[in-house]
Amino acid sequence: MTALLAIEGLAVSYGRISALRGVSLQVDSGEIVAIVGPNGAGKSTLLSCIAGLVRPAAGVIRFRGDAIAGQPLERTVRRGIALVPEGRHVFAGLTVLENLRLGATIRTDRARVASEIDAYMDLFPILADRRHAPAGTLSGGEQQMLVIARGLLSNPALLMLDEPSLGLAPRITDQVYDLIESVRARGVTVLLVEQNADRALRSADRTYVLNTGAVRLSGASGDLRGRPDFEAAYFGLDLVGGQA
């Protein structure tokens, strides 16, 4: 396997507050990699930094071998990285169909895009039923499916998802993760950020535990699930002097 995304020594500060410190990680082609951690761990900052929304203070981000840190968001997607931001950012006043079409902004193969949109409509009949309805009128789960489909329509090599299960019922969360796994099966690499560590560990090949801006633990998801120090790393108990 080759490293699709490689990050070394990444540091981000908001003024005097240090959000990420010396973060290094690697995502190989065809993997699902999860970054888990509690609220405020720096997970979203990490994705924002890869996407180009936040400029790092130090460190290197390489995608397919090219240094991409600090480039604007609209260029990141042209390199093959799609970001699905936290909070289901649908274009609320635009129709479902327009949302999907906009996902393919950078593409010129119109016929192919149209057939892919049809395929998503088949996959999610609710999107087909509501194709001319404003996206803002969809339910939370439907909106999440829509933004993932929209992200995929840019034809990315790497799909980055920020908190895909946030605010969703468990049944809907499972549907979202089924979609994520089917995405990987089609050859798209996935990097996802989750507070819901249990759910992320079940789907991800490898997982990084992030807390207070640093990687505390990493490894194959199956191994991490059974490890006694996982919870300590997740909740930062190792930082306050062992078991509380």
Partner: protein, 346 residues
């Protein structure tokens, strides 16, 4: 295929029919009413120009009256007969003093000049968002006002410029209003306008989809400024006289009110808002002058300035209770067509 095209163009056809119908009715009315309608149609051009940028991008824009002024003065300088030009503007450069183009070239050249100016000033401004962008466009209008008001050799400064060719009648104004609506509609059907509306809904998600927001905003700003420039040229030639004072705060507020009241998220909103506010201001003007109540001898009359207060209050009420305006952001007949069409129908 043909049917789809017609359904898709239904809002445009409906708006054109509305404008032509109003013009036909005005043609049968007395001279004063006809002149009011001509002014209203000129305002339609300007409000539609404002809509092209503000409606699609969602960025507040106060600069359109500045572009109207530029368009008006460019048209006047290029088309005025040498006689009045030499009298009012004796210090003009020789080539400009000698230039007298056909009157109808005025709005087009005014539009072109505005587009060039908008491209130059828009490059930095379109990178701004929210309140910063709104203040920047306001400053732009202010700069236009100050420059035109003090560039005595070119504009006559504070002196009124008289003797403009008078060619803006009912059907000229109608043709330009229809033209402006057609341009705005054609633009909003493009992929660029759709992408710009996406950035209006969610800037981060738009950029994450690869939409180059600043570039698209600039395109809409330039097109909108050109339409406003044409509107300004028509306004000047309709009045026959140009005063810098005509292009300042009052019309700025009026145009924004028309768009907001009609609904800034649809072209129908721009046109309907302009018509509704024009009608309302006319009624208010009559009441300020005094309307005799038939049979009683009494006269209904309100204090001067009442009209402005009503307009401002109306804007406030719309913002509070119907932020998407009279039209609710929908296009007239917009629900006939399906795919690729305007969005806001529920």
């Amino acid at each position: 295929m043909m049917r789809d095209l017609i359904l898709r163009a239904a809002p445009l056809l409906a708006l054109v029919a509305l404008i032509v119908a109003i013009s036909l009715l005005a043609g049968m009315a007395d001279t004063v009413t006809t002149r009011r309608v001509i002014l209203c149609l000129v305002n339609v051009v300007c409000v539609v120009g404002l809509y092209i940028f503000m409606g699609n991008s969602g960025v507040l824009n106060f600069s359109s009256v500045g572009f109207m002024a530029i368009g008006a003065y460019v048209a006047a300088l290029l088309t005025m007969p040498a006689g009045p030009k030499g009298m009012f503007l004796p210090d003009l450069p020789v080539w400009l003093a000698a230039t007298e183009l056909p009157a109808l070239a005025g709005p087009f050249l005014g539009a072109l000049f505005c587009a060039i100016v908008a491209l130059a000033v828009g490059l930095p401004i379109m990178r701004l968002s929210g309140i910063a962008a709104a203040i920047a466009t306001f400053s732009l209008m202010f700069i236009c006002y100050i420059v035109l008001g003090n560039w005595t050799s070119m504009t006559g400064g504070q002196i009124s410029l008289m003797g403009l060719k008078s060619y803006v009648g009912l059907w000229t104004a109608c043709a330009f209003a229809v033209g402006a609506v057609a341009v705005a509609f054609a633009y909003q059907e493009t992929r660029w306008a759709l992408a710009l509306r996406a950035s209006r809904e969610d800037a981060v998600a738009a950029r994450a989809s690869g939409i180059r927001v600043a570039r698209l905003r600039l395109g809409a700003f330039v097109l909108g400024a050109a339409v406003c420039g044409a509107g300004g040229a028509l306004y000047g030639h309709f009045q026959g006289t140009l005063r810098v004072e005509s292009f300042y705060l009052d019309p700025t507020f009026l145009l924004v009110t028309m768009l907001v009241v009609g609904g800034m998220r649809s072209l129908t909103g721009a046109v309907v808002g302009c018509l509704a506010i024009s009608l309302l201001t006319e009624v208010l003007r009559l009441v300020e002058v005094g309307i005799p109540l038939p049979g009683t001898g009494a006269v209904v009359m309100v204090a001067p300035g009442f009209g402005d207060v009503v307009l401002a209050a109306l804007m406030l009420l719309i913002l509070l209770f119907r932020p998407n305006g009279i039209t609710g952001g929908r296009e007239i007949l917009g629900n006939l067509a399906g795919s690729g069409h305007r969005h806001d129908q529920v």
